[in-house]
């Protein structure tokens, strides 16, 4: 699947370069943000954060959750039907969530991980199945359409995108 994605990107890149100048620098380009492989596996308990690129939602007991696309999980407590921010769980690559018996099942890139949330302040990794999940490649694309710098998997794991000016961008969608 990932291979297909890279092929598509390569295809797009070629399609683009064939009718445009190579090495052309552009403004407002989406640039990939990478983490090295070891760092990308680290699950962290962090203070609540603002939603930037909100993903899927989930409800469990008195809590509701929203994925931050490829970054982690926002946790809120429902207080008289109002969501009160509780925390953010950093899980790079996260796209999916399901919960049972205070255990959160999510994906850390292609690994399925189980997080023990019995103590919501110190969510900890309970177990991990490496390579058990094929990520949805569409969700790896930049937040909005336009030019973007092609993903280079040799630079690490893709954890997000940031806008930069005056950079080369050979990919577009």
């Amino acid at each position: 699947m990932k291979k297909n994605y890279i092929l598509v990107l390569a295809g797009l890149a070629i399609a683009f370069s064939s009718c445009n100048q190579a090495n052309l620098k552009r403004d407002a380009v989406w640039v990939p943000v990478y983490k090295d492989k070891t760092e990308a596996r680290v699950i962290l308990n962090l203070p609540a954060q603002q939603v930037r690129s909100g993903g899927k939602i989930y409800a469990y007991g008195n809590y509701i959750f929203q994925l931050e696309q490829n970054q982690g999980i926002h946790v809120y407590r429902l207080d008289d039907k109002k969501p009160v921010p509780v925390k953010f769980i950093q899980v790079y690559g996260a796209q999916e969530i399901a919960i049972k018996d205070n255990l959160i099942y999510t994906n850390n890139f292609k690994d399925i991980v189980v997080l023990n949330a019995s103590n919501p302040q110190e969510v900890a990794v309970e177990s991990r199945i490496p390579g058990a999940f094929d990520m949805n490649t569409f969700e790896l694309l930049p937040p909005s359409k336009g030019y973007f710098q092609c993903i280079d998997t040799t630079k690490g794991m893709l954890i997000g995108w940031e806008k930069q000016d005056n950079v080369e961008a050979a990919c577009i969608y």
Partner: protein
Amino acid sequence: MKKIIYTLLLAAGVIFTFSACSKSDNSAAPGIGGSGTGGSLARFTIYGNYLYVVDGTSLKTFNISNPKNMVQVSVMEIGSGIETIYPYNGNLFIGSATAMYIYSLRNPEQPQQEGMASHVRACDPVVAKDNLAYVTVRSTTNGSPCGGNLDALIVYDISNIQYPTAITTVNMSNPHGLGIAENTLYVCDGQKGLKVFDVNNATNPRLIKSVGEYNYFDVIPYNDVLICMVEGGMVIFDITEKENPVFVAKTF
């Protein structure tokens, strides 16, 4: 002292969590034995002691009886473009770019295909209740990655799950996820808002109202609240009266 109070509050929260789960609830996708409730765009779902995952072309089953050592017990090849999974009444409803599949969980380790309904090529989350399944299809024109040119809500009769039959199609603008509570169906119609349908008569869903302002992607009816995934975060409505969502708060 503050810390102790906080810990107690947390403990109370956890206890509440458990009591909330042990109650039988009648939401559209009820938590089964201590599990929570996902939206219609989910690709992970838990049913009993199993985690079901759809990715790409397959349905994977994991035994999670021992969460410290969960074990993948099967992989079923379903077809291309598998996108969503929704558990209901001992079955899994799986949305792909070309069809809705129904898998029985009689043997939870080896889900068995029971029925299938092909539809036009499109993205298609599914929810189900009683003898009906509700599917939205969204076209490429509206930015779906799945292809196709129809934007609609399709209602299937699933009283015989081996032969799901389309009974009606309602045109939509830009439909994404959907959710059902009692006889009210909520359909996220992108920037056209949240569409609230009365589905007492499933052959003729009646649009009650359209709630605007945000770009709606998915919903979870959860007891008396409706949790909506919108562009920018989440929006919460009070749905004590199911057909009349009342705005409560947003997370952004």
